[in-house]
């Protein structure tokens, strides 16, 4: 078994197996961080590599994305901090140094040590595809990287095998102009039908390009035919105060036969925008990816950049991050529990829930200056400390909220009419949830026992004791009950953190961020797992920031859960997932 890498124990065996299995077909292997292992693979190995990791190690393909490095220097894994690696020129901007022997993307073979000599090699003429696998039980990520030559811009689809990457692959096709081969439905997705032929995430596309206004024929949905079948189009402007998206129901009578989604109405060029901002401003942009997950997204972004810069926030900052993440979870879960009740006409419960939610949001404002916890996150830690009186108020809130929330739970439990509407409604079966790779609370309500707080802990979570509730019925009631249980767990987490608040600074100085490093940041937000992957550029900027919100993964769950349900139940089924449109569309 190979041990030359400084990687977590759980990744040692998969790495050895991968090397044995694919031998000289795999290129450079690199571990910039103990739980983040990069492997260069040829493009035609993508499917085989995926199958191996999935079958042998139960790996989940959590993100697929591309990067345009046609003109980039670097990128042959110039990571520092691993045994045997030449250290990277410290700090500052400017071009990365070319190593003495010129360097190549050397194959490591079975015996070779990892080589740092690749730094500075121009990777002219290729795009990179990244496949991020999470090995949850082994607490490590394996990231496969494949080069796509610019003169042959196409890549094979994995959607037939891994349904969850459907939209992600099409997004690459739309935004990078890489043609998808073998995809069952390769139509446009991220860019709507009327968009001109532009590839916004290519480096030669200017962020501020002015495009002609929206016009052209309507989107052609798939037709569902049959006696008594008709279509109900909804959106993009909805009846409630929610985000825009288009739903097309095909119904026969009241039951839904088929639901088609059309998203990306609020595509704002966010990933492209990250590339033009100083990295410190990127934190504020990350807060605006999905408003109800402001702190989780900002923290995932900071986590990625901190890992790239090899800095660790001080213990008190990590504790404060944990408190804020749990406060975000509580206020959102409270709002959702209320909204689910109101969608089945139990408005009184909604009012109580909103009343409790308001108290949490006011505390957020008192602690961090903003009700959505905005402005709190920063690179290297957090911006504001909580003094003794603020911590006391936090403890007070948990102490008073707990019995009141328990009373609200009782009210909902007592309402048989509400239970009637929620049980067996919008069922997402565990099998389907696993097939689609559903994550976060929607997954845990359907038996998918995954939570980054336990499997990939950072911030303060490794020092805490808490349960991850998992239910298996997969109906709206389960998703409601899961939120309820998670709120009680969050109370317990806050109490533990507040009782053992470490002293000390709340921020580590970041300094100049070294260019040409890549890093994966992640946070279990209230909705599910959030990933930010960055490649740094000279001058404290980013060459690429990939954002993966759990909603992008979870939308297909809605189309499955609604089948056979009646149209009037759609609002409550939709609300029980409460996915982010802006997080999906970016």
């Amino acid at each position: 078994m190979t041990t030359e890498f400084n990687i977590v124990a759980g990744l040692q065996r998969p790495l050895a197996e991968v090397r044995k299995m694919f031998r000289d077909r795999i290129g450079t292997v690199h571990a910039p961080r103990p739980n983040e292992l990069y492997v260069d693979i040829p493009l035609d190995l993508a499917a085989g590599f995926c199958a191996h990791l999935h079958r042998k190690w139960s790996a989940r393909l959590v993100s697929v994305f591309a990067d345009d490095v046609r003109d980039a220097m670097n990128t042959a894994f110039p990571f520092p901090g691993v045994d045997g690696l030449a250290s990277f020129p410290p700090g500052g901007s400017g071009a990365p140094a070319v190593p003495p022997n010129g360097g190549t993307t050397e194959r490591t073979g079975d015996d070779a040590k990892p080589r740092g000599v690749a730094a500075g090699v121009p990777h002219r003429g290729v795009f990179h595809l990244y496949y991020v696998y999470a090995l949850d039980q082994r607490h490590g990520f394996i990231i496969a990287r494949a080069a796509v030559p610019a003169d042959k811009p196409e890549f094979p689809s994995l959607t037939d095998a891994v349904h969850g990457v459907n939209w992600q692959e099409r997004e690459i096709q739309d935004l990078f102009g890489l043609k998808l081969l073998g995809h069952p439905n390769p139509r446009r997705c991220a860019l709507h039908d009327d968009w001109p032929e532009v590839f916004p995430l290519r480096k030669d596309f200017d962020l501020r390009t002015k495009l002609p206004p929206f016009q052209g024929p309507r989107h052609k949905f798939r037709e569902v035919e049959g006696e008594g079948v008709f279509q109900v189009p909804v959106g993009p402007v909805h009846a409630g105060i929610i985000e825009p998206g288009h739903f097309l129901f095909s119904v026969a009578g009241e039951p839904v036969l088929y639901l088609q989604l059309r998203m990306f109405y609020v595509h704002k060029g966010t990933e492209k925008l990250f590339e033009s901002l100083p990295v410190a401003h990127g934190v504020r942009l990350a807060e605006s990816i999905s408003g109800d997950s402001s702190f989780a997204h900002a923290t995932a972004f900071c986590h990625a950049v901190e890992r790239a810069a090899e800095i660790e926030p001080p213990p008190r900052a990590r504790a404060l991050r944990t408190l804020c993440l749990e406060l975000e979870r509580i206020y959102n879960h409270l709002g959702d529990i209320g909204a689910i009740c109101t969608d089945v006409a139990f408005v009184t419960a909604h009012m109580h829930a909103l009343r409790l939610k308001e108290r949490v949001m006011r505390l957020n404002e008192h602690l961090t200056g903003n009700r959505l916890l905005r402005g709190m996150a920063c690179l290297g830690g957090v911006r504001f400390d909580f003094d003794e009186s603020q911590l006391e108020q936090l403890a007070q809130l948990v102490a008073t909220l707990q019995p009141e929330f328990a009373a609200l739970v009782e009210l909902i439990r007592d309402s048989s009419g509400t239970r009637d509407r929620l049980e067996t409604t919008g069922v997402l079966t565990p099998d389907v949830a696993r097939d689609l790779g559903i994550v976060g609370l929607a997954g845990r309500a359907s038996g998918v026992d995954r939570d980054l707080r336990r499997d990939f802990p950072h911030a303060f979570y490794e020092q805490l004791r808490f349960d991850i509730p998992v239910l298996t019925a997969g109906d709206v009631q389960s998703r409601l009950a899961l939120r309820r249980e998670e709120i009680f767990q969050s109370f317990a987490i806050i109490n533990q953190v507040a009782a053992g608040m470490p002293d000390g600074p709340i921020r580590t100085a970041v300094g100049d961020i070294p260019p040409d490093r890549t890093a994966l940041g992640y946070v279990e937000g209230w909705r599910g797992e959030i990933f930010h992957w960055v490649r740094t550029a000279p001058g404290n900027r980013l060459a690429r920031c990939k954002v993966k919100d759990p909603s992008l993964q979870n939308w297909p769950a809605l189309t499955e859960a609604i089948l056979g349900n009646i149209v009037p139940d759609f609002p409550v089924v939709n609300k029980s997932f409460n996915l982010s449109y802006s997080g999906t569309d970016r």
Binding site: D206, L207, R208, T209, L211, P213, F214, Q215, P236, V237, A239, I241, I242, E243, P244, Y265, V266, H267, K268, G269, T270, K272, L273, L277, A280, H281, R284, L285, S288, I289, S290, G291, D292, S294, G335, T348, M351, H352, L354, R355, K357, E358, M361, R362, E365, H366, L367, T368, G369, N370, R371, L372, R374, G375, A407, L408, L411, D414, S580, Y581
Partner: protein
């Protein structure tokens, strides 16, 4: 049933008396920044840390014009950390009837090292005066719609942060309905369009169609830094920026997101129902 009543009685009345009484916000709340214009010696550090370009300057011929745009400000407070001439207040009621009201400019003479010397034109807003006809029409509209107002909300590209707070207006704490104001499901029932932004290219047409479906007279309120100015997104290949790039806007509510007090303030401002407070 008994439990239901008991819980409601136990909760009691939680509704705020705002706007009759001041907004109940924490002293830690970050609201509108306050700038010591006459003592300001160098805008550049604050401008460098501002993520949205709300603080900017133009240098010309030994003179510097400094601009602060409340419509772009996300109240992050980074400028106040970088510059002692700026202080964050907890005042969140910033709504204005004209975009120019949100923009303040002052002129300084420039020192060779790039700092300011002395203020040569005092801070003033960029409000454009309305002509009499426009003023008359606006007053009549406000009077006509000011008693029972129906609002249609449109998310034209927001991150959902503004929606989180707009939903809270229906909570028992803010209780918008006590003013006779309701959110409605269709633009055809609406007197006011409450729009969050930035307006994306993909939502532009839907926004226009929603506006066209409303009966006249009608009001449009732009919500949040992105709705007022495009915010941190600005204009790019996928967004058209501020709501007023697409529709005529009657009131602008700054904030990121505006807190519920600020939203109430802006909506009531649009229909002339803010109480006179001393």
């Amino acid at each position: 049933m008994f439990n239901l009543l008991r819980e409601s009685l136990r909760a009691g009345i939680v509704t705020t008396s705002y706007p009759a009484t001041p907004a109940a916000v924490s002293p830690h709340t970050r609201g509108r920044p306050e700038i010591d214009w006459s003592g300001w010696r160098d805008v550049r550090p604050a401008a460098a840390v501002c993520p949205t370009g709300a603080i900017s300057h133009v240098d010309h011929d030994g003179r510097r014009t400094v601009q602060f745009d409340l419509g772009k400000c996300i109240f992050c407070g980074l400028c106040a950390e970088a510059d002692t001439s700026i202080r964050m207040t907890n005042i969140c009621e910033c709504a204005a009837r004209s975009r120019g009201d949100l923009i303040t400019e002052a002129g300084y003479t420039l020192k060779p090292d790039g700092a300011h010397d002395r203020m040569i034109s005092p801070p003033s807003s960029r409000t454009l005066p309305l002509d009499d006809v426009a003023r008359e029409i606006q007053a009549r509209t406000r009077k006509l719609l000011g008693r029972s107002l129906h609002i249609r909300e449109v998310d034209a590209g927001s991150c959902n942060g503004c929606e989180v707070e707009i939903v809270n207006l229906n909570s028992p704490v803010y209780d918008l309905e006590r003013f006779g104001i309701h959110f409605v499901a269709s633009p055809r029932h609406a007197d006011m369009l409450l729009v969050t932004g930035p307006v994306t290219r993909n939502m532009e047409l839907a926004l226009k169609k929603t506006y066209d479906a409303m009966p006249a007279p009608r009001l449009v309120v732009a919500v949040g830094a992105c709705g007022c100015s495009g915010g941190i997104f600005g204009e790019n290949y996928a967004t058209r920026g501020a709501v007023d790039a697409i529709l005529p806007v009657d009131v602008y509510i700054p904030g990121c997101p505006p807190n519920p007090h600020a939203l109430l303030h802006g909506i009531l401002l649009a229909i002339d129902r803010l109480p006179e407070r001393t």
